[in-house]
Amino acid sequence: MGEEPMRAPTSLLPLRLEEVSFVAAGKTIIDRVSLALENGPRTIILGPNGAGKSVLMRLCHGLLAPTSGRIEWAARERPGERRRQAMVFQRPVMLRRSAIANVVYALKLAGVPRAERQAQARRALESVGLAHLAGGSARVLSGGEQQRLALARAWALRPEVLFLDEPTASLDPSAAAEVERIILAIRDAGTKIVMSTHNLGQARRLGDEILFLNQGRVVERAPVDRFFDQPAAAEAAAFIKGELPWT
């Protein structure tokens, strides 16, 4: 695709979290996290199951509101304007319509003029290798195909930031490899990638920096090579060695 993301006069990034906590049903899932996400590096949020990765992603994307603390983007997204961030979930959710219609739906919400929607949607499908399935029903596609469709849909919006919540956790290895290739392509086109995973190999392959999350706290943050070669935190080291208990 190779199209630059839409950049408004001011970029959304950096995203700042200040003492953000999220408590649900008496449990503290995110515990006083403060961080800034800058434009540029592919950020991987790594951690064991139950660390709070999904919740952290949703807090950043705006699907959840923090119980305390502040989350602030550099530019404000106003309701009614096209979204400049997108998210791909572990399990893709498709509408009961054709594959291309799902992408067109997203473009319509983004305010793309009617005349351009079909063409842009088709280009998005081509870039993920699904052009031949454009007219078929989206919900009968395989898991891997649906996830690629979700990526096409998100990419068609040309977001500044793309959140991905364990996008390959439900896929077989070859489908997962396809998805990773597409994510890298999106990054190359200029979108900031923020992805969560508990898969060490994937983190190493795709990440520029690692944010290691454990029990709701950012335990370590480092460039990918340094993180894997010389983890500073004990929990990080234990996780890499496969010793952290799965909560």
Binding site: R83, F89, Y105, A106, A138, V140, R153
Partner: protein
Amino acid sequence: MGVIVDTFRGAFALLVGLDANLLEIVALSLQVSLSAVAIATALALPLGAAIAVSKFRGRQTVIVILNALMGLPPVVVGLVVYLMLSRAGPLGDLGLLFTPSAMVIAQTILILPIIAALARQAVEDAWREYQEQLRSLGAGGWTAALTLVWDIRFSLLTAVLAGLGRAAAEVGAVMIVGGNIDGVTRVMTTTIALETSKGDLPLALGLGVILVTLVLLLNAGAYTLKEAAQRRYG
């Protein structure tokens, strides 16, 4: 036993004979109930969907009341609409009493809560699945509600059929606001009531058989449609 045999023979004879009077009554029944279903659906689906996706104070109370209204007694609805449309009532000048329009109004009021409550349930279930993705794409409020309604349209068919069933089956409301006037507001259910009160039970039962068969056919048609769509869209 004899009554049952007489009944089916009588029903069959009526159908084969294509009694003109009967056809008129059946046509009016369909016209009234289908109109009521169309109007009620157009109002109830957005209403149910809106409640399903919104958060507001007293939401639980609204849902409980809506569910309770599913059990509105037809005769009570008929009485209230009668008082509204009577010349002595607030809307008397419309001159709608004892017309099919009054019957459509009464049945619409009767089935609207049924369709809305069932739609609310279906949309709320779907909302749980779609919510994060739709909000992520920037669809909120009305947009999300209507997208969901369209996406689960074949499941909502069940809610619509429930409304149709109630409308086609009720006699209390249409009797009071329609007056069961021969050739004008006489429908299948009021005819059955009339023939029963005249003691012509085989004829009344025969009409009952025809009514149930009609509703069965409508349901079968809708089911086939739903299955075909399910296979196509997944």
